[in-house]
């Protein structure tokens, strides 16, 4: 398996996510994770998603996505030296007598306890998927009540960026965020 990490800057307009996902579905691209949020440019959202390069033609993924009008920039970060992370929150069964053991694991993985209840803890852990997996293995014996993972986010190392866009700071182009004028029906989706 070869996981490709692809990053896209997209105009934050109604229907964009739908449009992109529609292309993935129609063309049978196998997307493994997806994370979306704001970018450094107002009006542009940044998506990070991972695709299995052995089952999906990566060249077609980027080219077909680029055909979506709102996609401003797309790059396969796998070709770059990159930092990638995933964040997970996990609610673990933690009666008082087990807490010591759990906290030890939390320490080793530099995770964080973000909520404490009488019989459970919410732990936040950040790292590569492997690290998150390893952490989960360690706490699984205590009992995982709930788990959420964000999916990978990534950025190229070094001073340059493959995601640079012309006029990105809005000097040349006005990106058209949703919500100008009247309220639109949903943003992105």
């Amino acid at each position: 398996m070869s996981t490709h990490t692809i990053v896209a800057l997209v105009e934050n307009r109604p229907g964009v996510l739908n449009r992109i996902v529609s292309k993935w579905r129609q063309r049978g691209f196998n997307i493994e994770s997806l994370a979306v949020g704001h970018s450094e440019v107002p009006g542009l959202s940044r998506m990070t998603f991972t695709v299995d390069g052995t089952t999906t033609d990566i060249d077609q993924v980027t080219k077909q996505m680029y055909k979506v009008i709102e996609v401003v920039k797309i790059a396969d970060l796998t070709e770059h030296d990159m930092v990638h992370r995933e964040l997970a929150m996990v609610k673990v069964t933690a009666p008082p007598k087990e807490r010591g053991g759990i906290m030890e694991v939390v320490d080793i993985f530099r995770a964080k306890i973000v909520d404490v209840a009488t019989e459970s803890l919410i732990i936040e852990v950040t790292g590569t998927e492997e690290k998150v997996d390893a952490f989960l293995e360690m706490v699984r014996p205590y009992g995982i009540k709930e788990l959420v993972r964000t999916g990978r986010i990534a950025m190229a190392r070094g001073g340059g960026t493959p995601m640079a866009i012309e006029g990105a700071k809005g000097e040349q182009h006005r990106y058209r965020p949703a919500g100008e004028g009247k309220a639109k029906v949903g943003t992105l989706i």
Binding site: G15, S22, K23
Partner: protein
């Protein structure tokens, strides 16, 4: 100037130079209709079914190169457009579809005649919009036309709630469209163009596969210059027909599933295949791994996603065909490939592919060929989908650019009637033939009413084989002749046409073909000719689905051939 949303739509259409809107009214687009008298320069054509509006606009666009415009009301009006939109999408046709939507405060509440048409058309539009603020309308219209007509053209849908059509705002026409995320490349990469010129120079057995892109970018002269300079035979895909003069000695006709046998063989032997404005569709390539096994591939297309999608490319060039060829041609060395040309001619002599047996039966191919011969090179030909379409393509040997109008990618039966309407509006002075299937004709024949109403002098040739012919052929060849649901109970097409006030004739003898076509050509108005042809004729050459080009079956040898007559209109 304060205008209503509906007036803004019309102002924008007028500024885009729109002559015709093909449409159908309903509750959600009445404000648009209300403005029609204020814009006499734009003519609204009332069709009888919204699908026809989309097909007519599509065909109008194919012939003129301008965006075709159609509109419909919300809900069923909008969904009736869907087949037409998909058709334009598959064949890269610039179409602007405007749908009325339920009032904005009812969107998402399943109000009467609400359909999520932007959701429904998402995968078959280049872009679509739901306009929820009248202040966005002018910008959206401008953008819509820009996106539909530039880069790789395609359909755009603009959905406008009724209240937005009625709301007033200050109208300001955006002079410029600048979409940061949409900058289609038109100029090819110079380095790649040099490499292409070099490959052409080194090639001994080159072929050009010319597609719809040649017609869309109107690169007729450039293609011709390239072919003549380097002496390269030109094969035109179904949608590429009309991109290169049929009377030219380098014109080779169509390749692929029902293409010329010699082309399918030559592609196997070529050492260079240049795909120009085409997308290596499976009907053209046959089994992909055996496509052009000896050839290097140059692929010129405006859509980067087409490059490498199906066929591995030696030299990819992303750009507008006209622009790329005008940059490429000066770098190409003049050459002759007489041996190669003669070789293809030899296959052609041995396998004439589209010879017509000299029999007394009324053969469909004979009818189609006669129509071509009697109509001259300036006419326009629209087809449906099926056997008659393939014969029409095989015998299309004409010079008139963009004069063969057919549904390629989607293969939409029923295209033949409304598309002819669009073509006749685009070319009011020209002869327009619709070569129709008896099956396809029945899918959209209600449009005879539109034709009668607007007095469009379209000539219909129904190639009436009493069957869904192409499906019958498949059931015959690939399903043991188990014929299911392909025998249609036919209406009396002559009476039918007459019921619409349209002149009609029936032909069932070979000897009547020429005089009847003549009569139709003399008649100033629309004519329907019901050609009751031989029912069991199969279309050859044929490549079975999944087979390689080299496995193409040529037409069978005729049993009886009193005086063999080679048919070739060139």
């Amino acid at each position: 100037m304060k205008l209503t949303g509906a007036q803004i739509v019309m102002e924008c259409l007028a500024r885009e130079g729109v002559e015709y809107i093909f449409g159908y009214p309903g509750g959600a687009n009445l404000p648009l209709y209300d403005t029609l008298p204020q814009y006499p320069q734009i003519r609204h054509i009332t069709v009888r079914h919204e699908q026809a509006a989309a097909h007519a606009a599509d065909a109008y666009a194919r012939v003129t190169g301008k965006a075709g415009v159609c509109w419909a009301t919300s809900g069923p009006g909008a969904t009736n457009l869907v087949t037409g939109i998909a058709n334009a999408w598959m064949d890269s046709v610039p179409l602007v579809c405007i749908t009325g939507a339920v009032v904005s405060w009812l969107i998402g509440r399943d109000g009467f005649q609400e359909a999520d048409i932007t959701g429904i058309t998402l995968p078959i539009t280049k872009q679509n919009y739901l306009v929820l603020d009248v202040n966005d309308l002018a910008q959206t219209m401008r953008e819509g036309f820009h996106i539909a007509t530039t880069g790789r053209p395609g359909p755009v849908l603009i959905d406008i709630p009724r209240d937005i059509q009625q709301e007033e705002t200050e109208f300001e026409y955006p002079e410029k469209v600048d979409i940061a995320s949409y900058k289609p490349a038109t100029k090819g990469h110079q380095g790649q163009i040099k490499k292409a010129a070099q490959l052409i120079g080194e090639s001994e057995r080159p072929l050009i596969l010319a597609g719809h892109g040649v017609i869309i970018s109107q690169a007729y002269d450039e293609l011709r210059e390239l072919a003549e300079r380097a002496h390269i035979p030109v094969i035109c895909t179904l949608l590429g027909l009309g991109g290169f003069p049929g009377s030219h000695e380098l014109f080779m006709g169509m390749p692929g599933m029902h293409g010329m046998y010699w082309n399918n063989m030559a592609i196997g032997e070529a050492d260079l295949v240049m795909g120009i404005g085409m997308r290596f569709d499976d009907r053209v390539t046959g089994r992909l791994k055996d496509f052009a096994p000896n050839a290097k591939i140059i692929h010129i297309d405006i859509d980067p996603a087409e490059i490498g999608k199906n066929v591995k490319t030696t030299v990819p060039i992303v750009g507008d065909v006209k622009q790329v060829l005008s940059d490429l041609n000066p770098l190409v060395q003049a050459a002759r490939h007489d041996e190669w040309y003669a070789h293809i001619q030899k296959i052609r002599e041995e396998h004439p592919s589209i010879a017509i047996p000299n029999v007394n039966k009324l053969l469909p191919q004979y009818v189609i060929k006669s129509i071509y011969e009697q109509s001259g090179h300036d006419a326009y030909f629209v087809t449906g989908v099926g056997q008659h379409q393939m014969w029409a393509a095989q015998f299309f040997w004409n010079d008139n650019p963009a004069s063969f109008i057919t549904s390629g990618g989607l293969g939409t039966m029923g295209f033949e009637v409304p598309a002819a309407i669009g073509v006749q509006f685009a070319r009011p002075k020209s002869l327009v033939w619709s070569i129709a299937g008896d099956g396809g004709f029945q899918m959209t024949m209600q449009e005879l009413a539109t034709i009668a109403e607007y007095e469009l002098p379209i000539k219909f040739a129904i190639i009436n084989n009493g069957f869904l012919g192409m499906v019958r052929q498949w059931q015959h060849l690939y399903y043991d002749d188990n014929l299911q649901s392909v025998r249609l109970l036919q209406p009396d097409f002559v009476k039918l046409a007459e019921a619409f006030g349209i002149a009609a004739m029936r032909v069932n003898e070979k000897t009547e073909v020429a005089p009847t076509i003549d009569k139709a050509l003399q008649h100033p108005g629309p004519v329907v000719i019901d050609f009751e042809v031989e029912q069991h004729e199969d279309t050859f050459p044929a490549m079975s689905p999944g087979a390689a080009l080299s496995e193409t079956t040529d037409q069978p040898k005729f049993e009886e051939e009193p005086e063999p007559k080679k048919v070739r209109s060139s």
